[in-house]
Structure formats: C-alpha cells, structure tokens
Symmetry: C2
Subunit: 359 residues, 2 copies
C-alpha cells in the first residue's frame, strides 16, 4: 500500500431504502439513515460520514433519492457532495453514477462504497481494513470487506474466500458470493471458517468498476458514463438504466473470473435491519429491558425486550418477554423480536389504504 | 309480591373504587364507572341507571366520593340524588348512609344496591330477579341476587344456597357466603350447583338493614342514623365510622341466622374487573383481535387480544397473542390477559414517583 492509494479514495455513501422493517421509527420520508437510532445524538448517515472522515477527509459523495437530498444536506457538513437520483434504480446505478463522475474527474480515483445506515464502533479495525482494501483495489481488484461472522445469521449474503492474495496482510481472493442462507447452511458456513458476511462494502478503482460493468451490462455502463460527461442528461438517461444490484451486476461475475478480493473485517458491524438488531445496540437495564430514548418514560414489570418511547408519553410494559414497543407521535407498533418482520404487512396495508402520511 | 314492593324500592348505587386494574383507561380522577368501556356511548354508571330506571323510575340514590360528585351529576339526569362521602369508608357506610336517609323519609322503604360499574345486558331477566328480590325483602329478609356461574371464576365470592323459600318462584335461603376460592374449590362450587356468584347486589328494607347492622356494629348503625337525622353532622360523624364491607358487617352474620335469601340471577353479569373481562365484552374481529374504540385505527397481523386505541393514533400489533394494548393520550400500557394484574405494580410505582397526574 502506498499513501497515495488512500489519498485517491473517495467514500461513496448510498443512502437509500425506506427501512420498512423499522416502521414506525423509519418512514419513507424519514428513512433510517436520517435517524439517530442509537441515542448518541448522531444520525446513521452522520455516524457513517464521521467514521469515514479520518480516511478520506471531505472526499465523500452521497447518492440518495431526490426526496431526501435536502435532509441529507442539512445533516452533513456544508459542501458535502450529494447526488440526487431522480428515482430508485438499485445499487449498481447509484454507485455507478458516483463512480462515473469520479472517474471523469480523476481516471485513477478509487471508490469505497459504505451504506449510510450501518453501524461500526471499532474505528481502528475498520480503518485498517479500508486501508488494506484500498491498496488491493489500487492493483486493479474489485475488493470487498467481509465481516468475520459472530453468529450464523440468515439475514445477510456470505462471501466465500479461497487463497491469500500475495503481497497483502490479510486479503484473500474471493471464490464466490452466496445468497442469504437458511439456518442450517448458515451454521455450516460459519463453522467452516471460509465464509464472511457480505456487508456491501466495495473498494475499487472507479474505472475498474465501470469496465467490469461494461463487460456485463454495456448499456448501463455507457449510460452512467454519458451522464457523467454531461450531467444535464441525467433526467433523460436515468429512467432507462437497468435496475440491478451491484453484487449481481459485477461482483458475482468478477468473482467467477478471480478478479475479486476480500479483506477480512475484524470489527463489529450492524446493518440495523430490524428491531432485534436495533435492540442489540441498546444496553439492557438490570431487568433485561432495553430502552432507546428517555428511560424515565418507561416502567416495566416482569418484562423484557425493546421500548422506544419516542412520543414522550409514559409507556408501561407488564409481563411480556422479547416484546417490541415503538411509540411515535402518530403511530404505535407492538410486536416481538421473533415476529417483527411482520411489520412489513402492516406498512403494506397502510399504503393500500392510502395512509402514506404514516408510512 | 305486590306492586307496592317495587313502588317503595330505591336503587342505591355505590360508585367508588379507582379501578386500578384498568389503568391507564381508569384513573383515580376518572374511575371506571365514569367511562364508556363498551363503546355504546354510555358510561358504566349511566348504563347502570338506565338499567334501573324501568324498575325504580327516578328513585335512584348514588353514593360516591366527594371528588367524583360533580362528574357523577354531569353524567346523570338532573335531579338525581347524589350523596358525597367525605372520604372512603367502605361499602357498609356508603350503603348504610343511603339506607338511613331513605328510612328517615319512609320507614317502609326498600333499597337495592347495585354497583355503578357492573354490566348486564339481559334487562328482562335482571328485572325479574329484582322484582322477586323486592317481594322477598318486603317480608323482612336481606336478599341478594346470586348470579348463575358460567365459569369457575376465582375473582368473586360465592353464595351457597340451601332450601327454597316457600311462597316465591325461585328464592332460596342462603346457607353461607364464601370468600374468593382457589381454582380447585371454584370448580367444586360450580359443579355442585349450590353456589352462585356474589355480585354485591343486596335488596332489603332499609330499616331491616340498619337493624341487622345495629346488632353487629351498633356504633356504626347509630352514626349513620344520626347523620340521616341531621345531615349537617355528616362531616363530624363520618371520619369515626367503622370501615367494613357490607358482606362482613351484615350479610354473613345474618346468613348464619337464616335471615338471608338469594334470588338466582339468570342473566349475564360482568364486573369489568380487569382487561380480560373488558375483552370479553368486546366482539372479536375475524382474526380474533378485539378492539374497543375506532377499529380503523388498528392494524393487526397474526395477533389476538384487546386493543384500546383511545389516543386516536394508529396502532399496529404484529405476532402477539392475548396481548393487551391500551393507548391513551399520556400513557400507554402493553401487557397480556394473563399478566394484566401486574399493572397495579406500575400504578404503585407511578404514585411512588409522584406522578399522580398519570394515575
């Protein structure tokens, strides 16, 4: 690694997704990346940019939906570059648009994509992984950071590594990306020691990413580069771009060609994907209840779980275990860790009823 | 029975008790008898008086705490007699005070005591029982209406009957009153066919009640009659009156003397003592959820129980069975039918914290 690798690295922060699984905390108009879900006083996107700043300074490019552009700008330091997508076109278009602009400005630019709504607390270990990943990316690889799994989670895709990459401390070549496994398979993956969680972090030279894309989806690569060359053509090109995730568009085909490396991520990582994951971030009180917010508002008796007293009202929970109570000004959710994924049905029903004020 | 028996009957409605077990619906300042807990548009005390009106016309005397006197007057027809107790002195003093006033005005007056917070829907069967009870009471008995049990409930006392009372359709002499049983004993009681629920309904000539009381607690009977003779002495006498329930003060001793009769109550009866009892009054939707209030506010997925959306907010319940969610403007309770009695601990804790605004 040379210091110039990191000096050329831009952090690309895709900030999308409604976070339906965290409703009613997270809404279409205030998705989870705009929320302080940890009670630290920083929203997830602010914490993401805070974490990247020691690595990239102000070389941060956020890609978000046009509906959230102003909110993102308000939360981030003045001058932060923000690209607004006219409509959702999945992660390849979002990251690719950033890559095309950065490639245009600096043909040697490296990009690292880091979702706006993930949490990492071990800054030093994160930084070490990104530094090594940038060095590997400078050699022309598409590099991902694979999180050392702490449990056989079924909510993430996995990355299977093969051989160490000569010349680097920890990097390995990637044998394959695999989809979210069932429980038995997840246990096998973790037991084998060969698999790591796919956290959606990709570090790559911008031009390499677009060239890989051009091999698989030439129209998409061409469209993105055309927009970069003439930003005024964004509205014209955007609706025609292929909707595809970056994993499918480039990472999986490139892995099959031996062109992908993984740097093990030996740090805590949370995608805050559901209430159980949110609860895990919140320290339990003596009685086992976790409270995200003003603890003085919550009274419990013979109960455990997560309470979010976001409406300022007193919340009493009696005789329920692993319960989830999310109290907001206009909507209340009561569920359990185990059944919380069912909240999507509620959000769908509210949309069906035209209650977009609540979703 | 002669028509004059009913013509001399006054309904005495003791309206007391905070209904802590229904918190946060029921509060010290708005106890359950002041609330519309059935969604019919009538509060429990209004429904009680509605039910009595065909039997006694405007001969209704409510006894309540001074804190609730104005609220009671606002809810009942103008001119309804309301006695305000300076402080709680249990049911014997409350009913005895009413009896002493009515005895003073008419030495032959009958009284029937009917709690302000019970529910009965079968008006015809209720009226038939009261008519027979009044006729038996006119013969000098202390008469109770014993509810035919529909389950081996452990939350009520029971009345054991012995022989039919000659000359009446259904009345029996009472062998004994028994305290709330444990589950096994309750099953024995119900299986025997000899036991009925004690719903606290007593029909008796006012003078008989006070004379029975004078045998057991002469000071209390004397105090109550002194207040009736000089209402301005209420404040002076009241604090010295014995605190005792009418069951212990007169019903149990009189039963031992063969002076108590029971008229079987062949009607539905609910004391709305907890959330399970409240739920039983609410018709379940197709999915098993019961909603007391605006159904359009409640969304459920794979859930059953009771939701009271009294704050006007949307309430979503996902993946929980027999859950109780009570949403009010300043306090939210989440519990289950099985554990709902634990709400008392929450109310106690709020009082300990000085949050009487919430209790």
């Amino acid at each position: 690694m040379t210091s110039s690798d990191l000096g050329r690295l831009w952090a690309v922060v895709p900030a999308g997704g409604a976070g339906t699984r965290l409703w009613p905390l997270s809404r279409a108009r205030s998705p989870k990346f705009l929320l302080d879900l940890t009670g630290t006083g920083r929203t997830l996107i602010q914490a993401t940019v805070d974490r990247l700043e020691p690595l990239v300074g102000d070389r941060v490019l956020v890609v978000t939906g046009s509906a959230h552009e102003q909110a993102v700008r308000r939360q981030l330091p003045p001058g932060t570059r923000v690209l607004a997508e006219p409509s959702p076109r999945d992660s390849m278009a979002a990251i690719g648009l950033a890559a095309a602009q950065l490639e245009r400005d600096d043909p040697e630019a490296l990009i690292g994509s880091f979702a706006a709504d993930h949490l990492i607390t071990d800054q030093a270990a994160f930084a070490a992984s990104v530094r090594e990943a940038a060095a590997v990316a400078a050699q022309g690889y598409l590099v991902t950071i694979g999180i050392d799994p702490t449990s056989p989670a079924t909510g993430f895709g996995y990355i299977r590594a093969s051989n160490p990459l000569p010349g680097f401390d920890t990097a390995l070549t990637v044998a394959e990306f695999v989809e979210k496994p069932d429980d038995a398979r997840a246990r096998e993956y973790v037991a084998s020691g060969e698999y790591r969680w796919n956290a959606g972090m990709f570090i790559v030279r911008a031009s390499v990413l677009l060239d890989l894309l051009a091999e698989q989806h030439p129209d998409l690569a061409e469209g993105l580069r055309a927009i970069a060359a003439d930003p005024s053509s964004l509205e014209a090109h955007w609706p025609g771009l292929t909707r595809i995730a970056i994993d499918h568009a480039v990472a999986e085909p490139a892995a099959a060609q031996g062109r992908v490396a993984v740097v093990p991520g030996r740090f805590d990582w949370e995608d805050v994907g559901d209430f159980a994951s949110l609860a895990a971030l919140t320290r339990p009180k003596e009685d086992g209840m976790r409270i995200l917010g003003d603890e003085s508002l919550v009274l419990t008796a013979d109960a455990s779980g997560l309470v979010v007293p976001a409406a300022g009202r007193t919340v009493a929970v009696v005789g329920l275990d692993d319960v989830v109570v999310v109290d907001t000004g206009d909507a209340l959710l009561v569920t359990s860790y185990q059944k919380a994924q069912g909240v999507k049905a509620v959000v769908d029903e509210l949309r069906r009823r035209g209650r977009t004020d609540l979703t």
